[in-house]
Assembly symmetry: C2
DNA sequence: CCGATTTGGTAAATCGTATTACCATTCTTT
DNA sequence: AAAGAATGGTAATACGATTTACCAAATCGG
């Protein structure tokens, strides 16, 4: 910047104020043009580190997800990235597995307060570490789907509603004995989905006993194993609400292992949707939830100036809706 | 840091040199302990922006991928993230779609030389923009799979070898008339895979005419459409080498649309592997390539001090290997 | 006891930008 | 023509580290 100022015969203050669009700066059209031409000619770009130092702001947002290879989380990442870009910020990505132990740069950046905001998906050691650091430096933090004691915001999805919609779909097809393949126990969203299933069953005067509920998780293997336990516990069921679509695909495989036909003998409907759900066999009927929008909302919340403490929003636009495919069918009985 | 220095009764120079592990610093054990205790007590963390400014180094690496939701690219991201973390750097993630137009922070960071390195996957407007900025500021750049005129490194996969392995597998099963469902034309890796198919056919004295080749792409829809063109052009084929596993899954759907049984009438083997490939029907036989390792290698190359200009490496460990599933079977004829 | 060496530090100059608080002129106005 | 306002800027400081060059006091060898 010094060089630009010298070449233009002005002080660096003018250059800085001009480039940062200072409204109070009065400058003749001639010098303005001259400076801009020289900036162009010298190919000057402001030093980002100096700016961050001076402004105490980095326009960097960190997102820690459990696992990018899970299409559900990938969609969150995608939404967050798009929003960050739209907000003129860049996105730092971390995966839980690599951040759990040892010293590493991303956790350090959080601990140094060097980022403008932090978005945490999922619960675990990595998330806890990040959160602890963030709290100390008062980094604006948004939790996705799982709450915490810290003064961070919480963004959730209409979990209960979506589970109810899924359950209702099975009921409408005539399945009266439904089971629930839940995600990991103890998490808010997990409970909410189970509650959606239970309450919708209750609303129709049907029972939803614990024997028809299995806690599994959000990946293929857990879904595959979980569905076997579910069938074992409750062989009478003809419909399954799977609380996570990736697990549901595992469940389809598990049912095939058991030689149970889907949707002939058992219908399966899952929460969340992603492109490949249309390409498994049978194509998975799902209830789509606004995952990308959730990622985007988190970033927007950070970039906005709302007080994040105990701030809780639910992303209900677009509303959860059924993507009808082949894994659900009318009950045969 | 000033506060720490004052509290310890020393100058900031000692604190800085102590914390950064300066070997030439001579301090008494007493002051060393005292300073460290005070750092702890005051919960001091060095200001990252100031360090970056002074050291002209940010320990930030940017990775731009076409699309995180594609499991093939997700695995690259995952590998890169792990390597960055291991190298004590953080990973900035960008998706092509959001970076193509308009001003945005990530491209600006590159243009300001504010990152230590840049990894580009795929070709397109976003990649071109990033590359142009990187060249001007001499940012260490690594291209994945597609080369460029710039002085950046290129990392590739054993594409030709993998395609040959896939082809060989079909030949071993007795398929003499094979087709190739290629990815986008004009890209190095795309050509290499086709070359692998062609040369392996030739090596067995079989023909591989252009009619049995279709250029598609790397997503579900392009695979689905592409396979239909392929069958249309060459209805005689009984085996398909799909150059991308995501496209291959689209192709399975396309074949089902055509009511062609896999593997009964046509066998399909694809390049690249990911968990869901085991869960489609029929489960997709693939040739696994070291995608995560490629992402990691890119980061390691950046963090190392090799001269990147015209540096070309192929990731051949672990070697491509067949993951045998159900989409390939012995030829019936 | 004197000069040399070691010990244990320090002072000060960057790094590149943003911003506050001030001017000199020149132009109006009466 | 003198006072007041507008024009077009400038000087200086702070942001928070790193690093080079230097130095006083203590120790040591002879």
């Amino acid at each position: 910047m010094k060089e630009v100022a010298k070449a233009a015969g002005v002080s660096t203050a003018v250059v800085s104020r001009l480039l940062s669009g200072d409204k109070t700066l009065r400058v003749s059209a001639a010098t303005r043009e001259r400076i801009l031409r020289i900036v162009e000619a010298l190919d000057y770009t402001p030093n980002v580190a100096a700016q961050s130092l001076r402004l105490a702001r980095s326009r960097l947002i960190a997102l820690i997800v459990h696992n990018v290879s899970n299409p559900v989380y990938a969609e969150i990442v995608s939404g967050a990235e798009a929003a960050a870009t739209a907000r003129d910020s860049a996105l730092l990505l971390g995966e839980a597995a690599s951040l759990e132990t040892g010293s590493n740069r991303l956790i350090d950046l959080i601990g140094a307060g060097a980022i403008d905001g932090l978005v945490l998906q999922g619960a675990g050691a990595a998330t806890d570490r990040a959160l602890a650091k963030a709290v100390r430096k008062r980094v604006r933090t948004v939790m996705l789907q799982v709450e915490t004691e810290a003064d961070s915001a919480l963004i959730s999805l209409p979990d209960q509603e979506a589970a109810a919609i899924a359950t209702d779909h099975l009921l409408a097809l005539g399945h009266e004995r439904t089971g629930c393949l839940a995600t990991a126990p103890g998490l808010r969203f997990s409970q909410a989905r189970v509650a959606g299933w239970r309450s919708e069953m209750a609303r129709h005067g049907l029972e939803a006993p614990d024997s028809r509920l299995v806690w599994a998780g959000s990946d293929l293997a857990l879904g595959r194993g979980g569905v076997k336990r579910l069938i074992d516990q409750a062989p009478e069921i003809t419909g399954i609400v799977a609380c996570n679509a990736v697990a549901a695909i595992g469940a389809l495989a598990g049912l095939e292992d058991l030689e149970i036909d889907v949707p002939g003998e058992v219908s399966v409907i899952a929460l969340h949707d992603f492109p490949l759900a249309d390409y498994v066999t049978p194509a998975l009927t799902t209830v789509r939830m606004p995952l990308a929008e959730m990622g985007a909302a988190a970033v927007n919340l950070i970039c906005g100036d709302a007080d994040l403490a105990k701030h809780h929003v639910t992303i209900d636009r677009p509303a959860p809706r059924i993507i009808l495919r082949r894994s659900t069918a009318r009950a045969s009985g």
